[in-house]
């Protein structure tokens, strides 16, 4: 591999470990809130369907959470092992934000997760519900801090550069930097949407297999309401986020649009297809809708944005990657909106649970939320290159001084381990999904009352994995 530099390998390693990681927190953010809603509905109505669904999704949540934790620890240490100059430069800012994430989120999740998973027979229903809520809140707090940190790297402010290091001057400005609210809203909504699509696909799959019962219907129905409401909201948030990016990171937006230069006062088309060519400085085979680019990007009929040629060649992100990752994200988003509208149409007369074409579409859309998240992250992270801290520190200056050889070794170890561990982990998640919700025997596992004195529950594994 003579052509691959240590920097490339470090970037591939970060992208690889990050891409695996992000999927799990996205699902745990959505699923923990879903579990809190299910438990609340059960406590209010006492309907068995909610407690059945709770215990079904709890197991899937636990496996997902475990994978999120172990892949997340890798991320926490990779800043130092692989990006030591970044840590030295920006550690005074990202360090405290990460420390607050650990203090306010990770411990909260970890402290109450045990009770949530194992405490059904050891604490009362109120305390158990509290534990579920704390875990859900913890995942959201975690997202808040990590997005504050990432947003600061994209749109830094509130700092001064002293002796070649970023020194915080105004913490409120650091945290509430210009892109933070948009990123947080966009990612949080994406997590809920991705989970809803996953849950909906599980329900649709069981219906297609003929496993029609109230629990399966309930999960499909709840998920489709969520998609119907949240997918259009996400489109609006995404639009606002795009305007914010156009203001603060114009080169990224130019790359997303494959836009090289303005021709006089001509309005921008919206390119549906094209192959941006970095060397030739143009977008080949461009197919676009006139004026729509101006309307979306500037909210005016003939507005313009700077083209890529207005930026020095060594400050342009890779337009080919950004152009297409952005289109994948938006395309999937439009399909989600269509799914939500279709589900609303089918609700008359319960066709929602019977129409096979729709159910198949819902199954296919199961992973779409996660794919859209990955595509979105590629857009925003590749789009900010060559900067790791926008305008302040280049990625090439952030990397640890390791040889290509040792990076290649660790990359190979990560690839092999991740494919094995998470490959089987995802298989276990799908195996749990395939089992479907079972009737949860409340008599056999009493809840409420003090812990140690209670008789231990009948081991659920006996019923569930009863060969």
């Amino acid at each position: 591999m003579p052509d691959i530099s240590a920097l490339d390998l470090a970037r591939i390693q970060f992208a690889f470990t990050m891409a695996f990681h992000i999927v799990f927190p996205a699902l745990t953010i959505g699923m923990s809130s879903y579990l809190a809603v299910l438990e609340a509905c059960w406590l209010r109505t006492g309907q068995a369907v909610y407690v059945d669904l709770y215990h079904f999704w709890l197991r899937i949540f636990a496996v997902t959470f475990g994978m999120g934790v172990v892949s997340g620890i890798v991320m926490a240490y990779q800043f130092g092992t692989n990006w030591s100059f970044f840590s030295e430069f920006a550690g005074g800012i990202t360090g405290p934000l990460l420390a607050y994430e650990v203090l306010t989120a990770f411990f909260l999740e970890a402290g109450f997760l045990g009770v949530m998973l194992f405490g059904w027979t050891r604490v009362g229903p109120g305390l158990h519900f509290l534990a579920t809520c704390m875990v859900a809140v913890g995942t959201l707090i975690s997202a808040t801090w990590i997005l504050a940190s990432n947003s600061w790297m994209q749109t830094p402010q509130g700092h001064a550069i002293v002796n070649g290091r970023a020194v915080p001057v105004d913490w409120l400005a650091v945290i509430f930097n210009p892109s933070f609210p948009y990123r947080l809203a966009h990612m949080g909504t994406a997590a809920y949407l991705a989970t809803a699509l996953f849950v909906g696909a599980a329900g649709a799959w069981h219906l297609l297999k003929g496993h029609d019962n109230p629990a399966v219907r309930k999960m499909l129905s709840m998920a489709m309401w969520m998609a119907l409401l949240v997918a259009p909201i996400q489109a609006v948030i995404g639009d606002l986020h795009g305007l914010n990016t156009a203001k603060h990171q114009p080169a990224k937006v130019a790359a997303m649009e494959g836009h090289w230069q303005n021709e006089g006062d001509a309005a921008l088309p919206l390119l549906l297809f094209g192959i941006p060519d970095m060397a030739a400085e143009r977008t080949r085979y461009a197919v676009g809708i006139p004026h729509l680019g101006s309307v979306i990007l500037t909210h005016s009929w003939t507005g313009q944005i700077p083209g890529l040629k207005e930026f020095p060649a060594d400050e342009r992100p890779n337009a080919l990657i950004v152009f297409w990752s952005f289109r994948i994200m938006v395309g999937l988003g439009l399909a989600m909106i269509a799914l939500g509208l279709w589900s609303l149409w089918l609700r008359r007369g319960a066709a929602l649970y019977r129409q096979r074409l729709f159910l198949r579409f819902a199954v296919v859309m199961g992973p779409s939320g996660l794919l859209a998240i990955l595509a979105g992250w590629v857009t925003t992270e590749v789009g900010r290159q060559p900067w790791v801290v926008y305008g302040l520190l280049r990625t090439a200056d952030a990397v640890s001084p390791h040889s290509a050889g040792s990076l290649a070794l660790t990359l190979a170890l990560f690839v092999v381990s991740y494919l094995f561990v998470f490959g089987l982990g995802i298989a276990y998640v799908l195996r749990l999904v395939r089992k479907g919700p079972q009737a949860f025997d409340l008599q056999a596992s009493p809840s409420g009352g003090p812990g140690a004195a209670r008789t231990p529950a009948r081991p659920l594994s006996a019923a569930e994995e009863g060969q």
Partner: protein, 335 residues
């Protein structure tokens, strides 16, 4: 009064890493004890003694890293790039160990052995490379300016490798005494039998480190053997001997909590001894805590939150341990 925030931060990082060592220590120890306990039911029980708490235990490791990054970014970037390979191996070990908690109960009967092995292997690898990292850290990290100046295999030396074995012994002893506290019957008896040799091994390991470090580092020798330090510090080794004595004695008479408490004491003393040896360096032997410090605005911002939030964390972590108090019997769990 002038408060030195860097000293407080050194204390917090010291505390965070210690919490990690003892808490994840006993659950990594359980992984290393698996080979001594072949029966499926017993292995389930062992795992279920820590399943509700392991995630919280591991969070202390992240706090240690994040605290170091927040308060001493220079040390974070030098130490983590200096210990590159051992830390990556440790992370991969923790990866296999961590997923085993859930995957083991999800696997079909025929696949379960994979996750038993992942649990054992992950625990061994994580513990060993934590020890290697510790050993390499103690024997000094080569620095030029504010960057790491050694090679990627500086840790491949007798002392770090011996320290790796030492940490494996320490964690196994912790795991063993934890299980004496949390189990009963034949499993507990087996753990009592295993605890005895490991207590002796632990003592031997501490003795070896105590002789080895001062011999290699004049600075450490001076810290310990000059007057008046000798008078202040001599209780440390004496307390170690006392704790091991009580540990061994308690194993002979229907033990419950005492062996675990004594193992904790031994490990605390050994850990404190190392801190005494390197103080006030955070990248021994070159960089002190003040030279590595983050800007005061960073240290103070994080300190306020840490001092406010840490008591609550200790409170609800304690509550969670309280909820799962008592002996663990076969068949308990949520699976």
């Amino acid at each position: 009064m002038d408060v030195d925030v860097s000293v407080i931060w050194a204390g917090i990082v010291f505390f965070g890493v210690f919490m990690y060592v003892v808490m994840d220590g006993f659950d990594l120890g359980i992984g290393m004890l698996y080979p001594f306990v072949p029966a499926r039911e017993d292995r389930d029980t062992m795992m279920n003694t820590v399943a509700p708490v392991w995630d919280g235990n591991e969070t202390w490791l992240v706090l240690g890293g994040a605290g170091l990054l927040a308060a001493f970014p220079v040390a974070y970037s030098i130490i983590l790039s200096g210990l590159y390979l051992p830390l990556i191996f440790m992370l991969l070990g923790l990866l296999f160990r961590g997923v085993a908690f859930e995957f083991r109960f999800r696997a079909h009967e025929g696949e379960r052995h994979i996750w038993d092995k992942a649990f054992i292997g992950g625990s061994l690898v994580a513990a060993f490379f934590q020890g290697v990292s510790l050993g390499a850290f103690l024997s000094g990290i080569r620095v030029s300016g504010r960057s790491y100046a050694g090679t990627v295999v500086d840790w491949l030396a007798p002392f770090p490798l011996a320290a790796g074995v030492g940490v494996m012994i320490a964690y196994t002893l912790l795991g063993c005494t934890w299980l004496i506290m949390k189990t009963e019957g034949p499993l507990q008896q087996r753990m009592i039998a295993v605890a005895r040799p490991f207590a002796w091994l632990m003592l031997a390991a501490i003795a070896a480190v105590s002789v080895w470090t001062p011999l290699r580092h004049a600075q450490v020798a001076e810290r310990w053997f000059s007057f008046p330090n000798l008078a202040f510090l001599s209780p440390v080794p004496l307390l170690v001997l006392a704790a091991v004595f009580f540990l061994l004695r308690s194993l002979r008479r229907d033990p419950h909590r005492l062996p675990f408490l004594m193992a904790l004491a031994v490990i605390f003393l050994a850990y404190a001894g190392m801190a005494i040896s390197i103080w006030p360096h955070i990248v021994p032997p070159y960089i002190t805590i003040w030279e590595a410090a983050a800007p005061p605005s960073s240290q103070k911002f994080t300190l306020v939150g840490t001092l406010l939030i840490l008591p609550f964390i200790l409170l609800y972590t304690g509550w969670s341990y309280y909820v799962f108090r008592g002996k663990v019997r076969a068949g308990q769990g949520y699976h």
